[in-house]
């Protein structure tokens, strides 16, 4: 497992790097890779996105220097910004019994464990993807799979400061209140600390079933 920490990076640059990494993992030039980063404010539209879920016009977004990207992941609209940890696992789903839902549940469980480590009770709701604290959403998930290799992934709201920008959209097409780890703990939380926990979770054995996949 390889880890790539891009720090705070423009969405477009990280997207290009994600695509390059995907090709290298697919052709086994590189081992499975988990990319960690934070983005400058950006809105992304997944394949199931309804443009009406972006609630403000282009001029207002321009004034806030927020770009909108149509991307190849599943799901509706989401927002990324500094203070949110974005995790892109470029993993081989043959290690997840070629089961898309199993992989989505694995990502959710990882976030729930992370929250548990911090003393927060994270929950999920049947039929929905993502992690909530009560009725407030803390993590969003949207992935893309090609040749059973995943890309895109999950975003976890860590800092409170950036949550306001979620009001520019209807996240995932739902009228849902977004929250952050800081909001719930009512204290400062460093992105670096959350990153460290996430890295530990990914380094733990994750292989559900070997399907003749071997990586260096």
């Amino acid at each position: 497992m390889r880890l790539l920490d891009l720090g705070l990076i423009d969405y477009n640059k990280a997207w290009d790097l994600q695509k390059e990494t995907f090709e290298s993992v697919k052709t086994r030039v590189l081992p499975q890779t988990v990319i960690l980063c934070q983005h400058y404010p950006v809105i992304t539209l997944g394949r199931a996105a309804d443009r009406n879920n972006v609630l403000v016009d282009g001029r207002r977004l321009e004034a806030k220097e927020i770009r909108v990207y149509e991307i190849e992941r599943g799901g509706d609209v989401t927002y990324h910004g500094p203070g949110q940890l974005t995790v892109y696992p470029i993993l081989d789903l043959r290690n997840f019994k070629r089961d898309i839902h199993l992989f989505l549940r694995y990502l959710e469980e990882m976030v729930m464990e992370l929250l548990r480590d911090l003393g927060i009770n994270g929950v999920r709701y049947p039929g929905l993807t993502g992690v909530w604290i009560g009725k407030r959403k803390v993590a969003s998930i949207g992935i893309s799979i090609r040749n059973w290799i995943s890309s895109h992934g999950l975003s976890i709201n860590v800092k409170q400061a950036d949550l306001d920008n979620f009001r520019l959209i209807r996240p995932c097409g739902m009228d849902v209140e977004m929250t952050s780890i800081e909001t719930e703990l009512n204290r400062d939380v460093a992105i670096a600390d959350i990153k460290e926990i996430i890295i530990r979770k990914f380094r733990a054995p994750i292989l559900v079933e070997q399907d003749n996949v071997s990586y260096s």
Binding site: R47, A48, G74, D99, T129, R146
Partner: protein
């Protein structure tokens, strides 16, 4: 003649929405290249072409719902 079938995508996933054809009917396709993209609620999924040949029949259009096990297309020998 090879049928392109929507495979099992995981427990509890019975259908997907066809989002994109990479090729048009009548075009040549190569084994292993992306043929069609489908989407479940939070995931998109690309089906590679199972063989090389000509995409002779396209049985579903973009936006259609496809059930697991249904034939999406037929590829004939070139």
């Amino acid at each position: 003649m090879t049928k392109v079938v929507l495979p099992e995508l995981g427990e509890g996933i019975k259908k997907a929405t066809l989002s994109y054809w990479y090729f048009k009917q009548g075009e040549g396709v190569k084994e292993g290249s992306d043929l069609v993209e489908l989407a479940t609620d939070k995931a998109t999924f690309n089906l590679p072409s199972p063989c090389s040949g000509v995409l002779s029949e396209v049985l579903f259009s973009e936006g259609d719902t496809v059930n697991v096990g249904e034939v999406l297309a037929i590829i004939s020998e070139a």
